[in-house]
């Protein structure tokens, strides 16, 4: 009985978080794309029946792809970071064997059909130079006691082989001067002469090659030892065959691949792309340099851009017409992967750079032409500064007639079926790239670390355009985690009818470190004169709260001497901006400085004045800064207590949270959270977490903060929650100023919760007006995307008697119910970040999760209160209302007839 009761109580306690998805809703609002990452090694299955290829990538993924389509058949994700970095793959008949890790090396065998792990053994080694497989034996080349030692192992069992060879240490002199190909080590000696020695038997002699060079590269996957030697920009192919060295000079810079065609014949394949549209392939017999016509072609592709192609693996066969046909797996500089059928075309291609998105933004689409015409006619001048509203009566009349005629035409066309309503096939076309009624259709602009920008349709996940940032500049670097960083600002949004939207990327010039601005249209990726070199290096950029006369949101740029500049310069602003306070935090020396800038309306000649500075001394270093989303609106200014009084929220738009981490002798590491006012420089509040370490995530929204960290003492992930209140009185309800007035410190409520899992990313939902309650999206290492209502993380969850209505009593563990996992069975691995943006529907928030997989969905934290459910029965309601109307009339008539009859009685 008690057990039943407990079960019932448990079930009821989950009623209000049951936010799950119905089975038929799966995939309706969401999509997921699986990727594998930049390909490092690959192999094409020789067995024609299975038609597969196997890849190992820089994202530590082993996967099998279908040759015909490029779809992933199976995918296995190894350890993160250097622990799982794949150093070698070796295909056997039934298994793919991978070698991963740096010091503790794991050798694993994966089933070719389904990717199941067959075996695993590990090996602890140090000073490893190379790994290679020869005759089914794994060779470990390492340096030890002034010697080069080669150990051999049976690759499937890990049993050490009998043979161990040693070579003199002078054979190897640095990774930049040596290369290993097919068991042979080639090195430049001190006189820049090339020496080649085989490491597969004990008594080999060095082969001296009479060639000079300054760079050496092994040809990947070559069956015979083959190297490319560069000497003063001239490339030569050096290969050994039957202990003889052959040298072949190369005409052009191309990626090479050697394929064993017959026992003693090899095919040399070359691929190059002199311009981004053309792809040149050349095939020849390695030994006698006869050109194979069927493999030599020059193709022009208008639809895609190819830069620096290189062949990863090849499979060749003889066709019925007795010509040689090959398929080559080609990788490019922008990390895309394609299968080239020679002779012929590109069969498929995958954009693998989408696994390394470093900045993303969802951008509103412009309104359709008809709506634009209406807006032009009726739009007031204040919101649409940029077009000329016609004022003459006649011209307005003509305008009206014209726009109504256009509307009529579209209506008729839609009715007659000439214009199709947007369907999945036509969604990506240009005519459909218009804003929908609810603002749910947007474009995802993603910048990847490969230097490629993508425009992705958020409803279908289709790539609409891509731009390669080749030669424009390099990315900034994040000093905290060493990752690449690219600031992106939407300086003109889609609301301005006569101007196209504009986004600006901040890049660094490769030579001078000065900033390069790349401006493009985020809707179609076009950029006209988009590259602008600045004569200084931008260290911080802050958008102004006012637009300039071109409807561009101007940016205040700080150069390295902290001198402010306006971008775009020479364009006056539409109104005088209020004083801007800019803080700049330096993670290397722990200095945070605050500046004030007073931008004149002309936008010319202004200077910055330092107003405050804060120094965090070594060994404390700043690891994160959390500021509120600039788009965020807060609807409710307070919180209702149980006695119906109001606890007013402390909403300081200038407050930023600064997280510092310092090593400590007692507590290992100490995490400190400072709440700093960016205008006055006052530290509003500080709190210390002892024994807290990475991974640390910080969320700052409304009047609350969440900080997740790993607690070393209790060995679990904890989320500390803070909330700031003004108390029962609002000091100034009409305006908020960080300076002047009474500076009453806020009341800080705090509480910590335990998350049964490990976080990869955390982000709050955001809606247009801020009426909808907030949920926190958490990506866990297990691949779940958890939607946690903020009320679970509320620091005011009562310990004893509930203080407020609807408050959940404090329980330290956060629930992780399967209904609240919004990605249901689509696991998201290696999540780098979550991006949330409001739609025009107050209830709905759009979510884009990126990492190894891309996932897009939409969430409604307070349920979809402003739209009818999609399964709403329109038919029933129409029938019911018509029946009611008819019956009302009928009964009215009947009633009057009856009354008449009664009167005659």
């Amino acid at each position: 009985m008690t057990f039943k009761l407990v079960i019932i109580v448990l079930l009821f306690s989950f009623i209000f978080v049951t936010n799950g998805l119905y089975e038929d809703q799966a995939g309706k609002f969401d999509w997921k794309q699986n990727y594998i990452g930049e390909v490092k090694f690959s192999s094409i299955d020789v067995d024609v029946k299975t038609k597969r290829l196997y890849v190992a990538t820089k994202k530590n993924v082993v996967a099998s792809l279908a040759i015909d389509t490029g779809d992933i058949i199976w995918r296995q994700i190894l350890e993160k970071g250097s622990d799982g970095s794949i150093e070698l793959i070796h295909p056997t008949k039934s298994k793919i064997i991978t070698l991963s890790g740096i010091n503790i090396v794991k050798i694993r065998g994966w089933d070719v059909n389904d990717g199941y792990l067959h075996f695993e053994w590990s090996l602890e080694t140090t000073n490893v130079l190379y790994w290679f497989v020869f005759n089914g034996l794994l060779h470990n080349v390492y340096s030890s006691n002034g010697l080069i030692v080669v150990d051999t192992y049976y690759i499937e069992t890990g049993v050490k082989g009998k043979a161990t060879y040693t070579f003199p240490a002078h054979w190897f002199n640095g990774f930049d001067r040596c290369a290993l190909s097919s068991g042979s080590l080639a090195c430049f000696d001190t006189a820049n002469k090339l020496n080649i020695g085989s490491l597969t038997n004990a008594n080999t002699q060095l082969l001296k090659v009479d060639t000079n060079g300054d760079q050496i590269k092994a040809i990947p996957g070559s069956p015979i030892p083959a190297f490319i030697v560069t000497n003063k920009n001239v490339e030569k192919l050096v290969y050994t065959k039957e202990n003889k060295v052959h040298i072949r000079s190369l005409k052009s810079r191309a990626s090479l691949f050697i394929y064993t065609y017959m026992a003693d014949r090899h095919i040399l394949l070359q691929i190059s792309s002199p311009t981004q549209e053309t792809i040149i392939t050349e095939g020849s017999i390695l030994e006698d340099a006869t050109v194979i016509e069927s493999l030599s072609s020059k193709e022009t592709k208008k639809t895609m851009k190819i830069s620096n192609p290189s062949i990863s693996s090849v499979f060749c066969g003889r066709s019925k017409a007795n010509t040689v046909n090959c398929v080559a797996l080609v990788t490019t500089l922008d990390q895309s992967l394609m299968l080239l059928k020679m002779p012929g075309t590109i069969k498929w291609h995958r954009e693998e750079s989408l696994t390394s998105i470093i900045n993303v933004e969802l951008i509103d689409l412009p309104v359709s032409d008809i709506e634009a015409a209406i807006e032009k006619e009726f739009g007031n001048k204040d919101s649409f500064l940029d077009h000329n509203v016609t004022t003459g009566a006649f011209s307005m009349f003509v305008h009206r007639v014209f726009s109504q005629f256009q509307q009529l035409r579209t209506l008729i066309a839609t009715v007659l079926g000439i214009i199709e309503t947007p369907s999945s096939e036509t969604i990506g076309t240009k005519s459909n790239l218009v804003r929908d009624q609810f603002g749910l259709h947007k474009i995802i602009v993603a910048v990847t670390s490969a230097g490629k920008i993508f425009g992705i349709d958020n409803l279908s996940g289709e790539i609409l355009w891509s731009v390669l940032l080749c030669g424009i500049g390099q990315f900034y670097e994040n000093k905290v985690d060493g990752l690449q960083l690219v600031p992106m600002y939407l300086i003109r949004n889609s609301k301005h009818l006569s101007f196209s939207p504009m986004s600006t990327l901040f890049l660094k010039n490769e030579d001078s470190e000065n900033t390069v601005l790349f401006t493009f249209n985020p809707i179609n990726g076009e950029s006209k004169n988009g590259v602008q070199q600045l004569p200084y290096k931008v260290v911080q950029a802050v958008p102004l709260p006012v637009l300039n006369t071109d409807s561009v949101r101007s940016l205040v740029l700080f150069d390295s001497t902290y001198t402010p500049h306006l971008y775009p310069s020479n364009v006056p602003l539409s109104s005088k901006p209020p004083p801007i306070y800019i803080y700049i935090a330096n993670s290397t020396n722990g200095l945070i400085q605050g500046f004030t800038v007073d931008v004149p309306i002309s936008g010319e000649k202004f200077s910055a004045k330092e107003v405050w500075k804060t120094q965090f001394n070594k060994p404390t270093h700043i690891i994160a800064i959390g500021s509120r989303d600039a788009m965020e609106h807060i609807h409710s200014q307070g919180r209702v207590l149980s006695d119906r009084s109001v606890l007013y929220k402390y909403i300081n738009p200038n407050m930023v949270a600064i997280l510092t981490l310092a090593p400590d002798t007692m507590h290992k590491s100490v995490l400190t959270l400072h709440l700093l006012d960016a205008v006055s420089g006052i530290i509003i509040y500080s709190v210390v977490h002892k024994r807290a370490s990475h991974p640390i995530h910080l969320v700052h929204s409304e009047n609350w903060l969440l900080c997740s960290y790993y607690n070393d003492k209790t060995r679990r992930t904890e989320i500390a929650s803070y909330e700031l209140y003004n108390g029962n009185q609002q000091s100034n309800s009409t305006e908020f100023s960080s300076v002047g007035g009474s500076l009453i410190p806020p009341i800080v409520e705090k509480q910590a919760y335990i998350l049964p899992g490990f976080l990869q990313a955390m982000k709050p939902t955001i809606t247009e007006k801020g009426i909808t309650s907030k949920h926190i999206l958490m990506a866990t290492t297990t691949g779940h995307l958890l939607e946690m209502p903020w009320s679970f993380l509320d620091p005011r969850r009562p310990l004893g008697e509930p203080k407020e209505e609807g408050a959940i009593p404090y329980i330290p563990e956060l629930p992780m119910s399967s209904e609240s996992m919004i990605n249901y069975n689509k696991s998201l691995m290696r999540v780098d970040g979550i991006y949330t943006t409001p739609s025009s529907l107050e209830s709905t928030c759009l979510v884009f999760v990126y990492g190894l997989d891309l996932f897009y969905t939409r969430v409604a934290p307070s349920k979809t209160f402003d739209v009818l459910k999609e399964d709403f029965d329109y038919l029933v309601i129409i029938i019911v209302t018509t029946v009611l109307l008819i019956s009302a009339y009928v009964t009215k008539n009947l009633a009057s007839q009856k009354a008449l009859k009664q009167a005659w009685k």
């Binding site: 801007i580 330096n586 500021s627 409710s636 119906r644 738009p653 960016a678 100023s737 960080s738």
Partner: protein, 171 residues
Amino acid sequence: MTASKNKNFKWSLDFTKNKHERSTDIANPPGYTQLSSQNGTELAKEGDSNRLIIKKSWDIALGPLKQVPMNLFIMYMAGNSISIFPIMMVGMLIVRPVTALFSLNTTFKTIEGTQVWGQKFIFFIGNIINIILALYKCQSMGLLPTHPSDWLAFIEPPIRMEYSGGGFVLS
């Protein structure tokens, strides 16, 4: 008399009317006077009916006050929970005195007398007491917007006086 006859037989046509007019005019029985039965008592009770009117109108005037204990009982029974029946009851408690106040003049139209002002005043006071009671009920049920939390949704967010921005040094 013909009128009364006509009234009794509405649909009958008296074709004999002209011929037998006289014969139909029957004299009253002896000792019957038409006015004696009515006028005698009326005149006797002239002062009494006036007193009755005043009494009746005082009844009307004191009606709302008499309802007060009943209303208190209803309120007590309704409880403080907000559900459909208590809300209906409270609604009735408010609506009735308010409509009574609006129809004050029509209620006292038929009543004339020297005490009419006093009666009106008492009637008014009684209804006001009822309204106050109903409002007290609303207050105890938490239906009156008397707390700052009731006006929270209308508070505009404060205007920002300074703008700030920034972040890590880009390097």
